[in-house]
Symmetry: C2
Subunit: 153 residues, 2 copies
């Protein structure tokens, strides 16, 4: 059992958040705290607009762009994750099961074709949630070329 603050975010989470901000030289503004708390408390994977509406209740002057900026910073610190992948849509006509590796730097998309033993099986608890029509597995990180470029600097 975790110690809970009055708002429901664990003290551990909050401490984590403060530490991470300090480490990266981010100031601890009330907006940041509220936005982080909102995402940490929500169980519904909120979008920016939703976070905005929630934060606005206790902080009527926040602006939507601060929410966007903050979510982005929190993501950079690894405190918040982006569900799914935004940006623009890309298409593929390869009907065989395969996955992707996307470079976070150059944006290149590499195909990953699993060997027969590596193919993903759909866990029973997922099948229980609904009828699965599509599986999307995406790895992301720095590709070899961008890694090399970084070293050159």
């Amino acid at each position: 059992m975790h110690t809970q603050t009055s708002c429901g975010v664990t003290a551990e989470q909050l401490e984590n958040f403060k530490q991470a901000c300090k480490q990266h030289g981010l100031r601890l503004t009330p907006q940041r705290v509220e936005i982080f708390k909102t995402v940490a408390l929500s169980k519904e994977h909120p979008d920016a607009e939703h976070v905005f509406e929630t934060v606005r209740k206790t902080m009527p002057n926040v602006s939507l762009d601060t929410v966007y900026r903050t979510l982005s910073s929190l993501e950079d610190l690894g405190l918040v994750f982006r569900v799914g992948f935004s940006s623009k849509a890309r298409f593929d006509a390869d009907l065989d099961e395969h996955y992707h590796f996307v470079c976070t730097q150059c944006g290149e998309v590499f195909d990953v074709v699993p060997s027969s033993g590596e193919k993903l099986s759909i866990p029973p608890e997922v099948q229980h949630l609904g009828r699965v029509q599509k599986v999307n597995l995406q790895f992301s990180g720095l590709c070899r070329r961008c890694q090399a470029k970084q070293k050159d600097l």
Copy 2:
């Protein structure tokens, strides 16, 4: 080895495409054929703009919105897949490894927490592509509630 047409798309793929169009009552317009061929031939997971520029070379009058509409139809027919997930970004502060099931109808996102045995291991061929920083596994389909609603109609 597949039989190749002059453009490099396999005859099989093209036949598949024509059959699917016929089955769904979609007319076989030159735009559709070109757009399909472009995605089928490309190995770079093109976005709409890129498909547009490519098709435009042989068909200077296509419009970007036709490309969007066509990619969407082709996706509905299952002839083309959308890489990653577009639409708006959603956030999550859960740092533990987990996956998501997204309902294509209502948009709800369900968490999938893998049991220890189900945790995804990163295949060696992926590690070879670059430094993996993030793994995103998303299932999509109709959730139970939406399945039930559909039956009621």
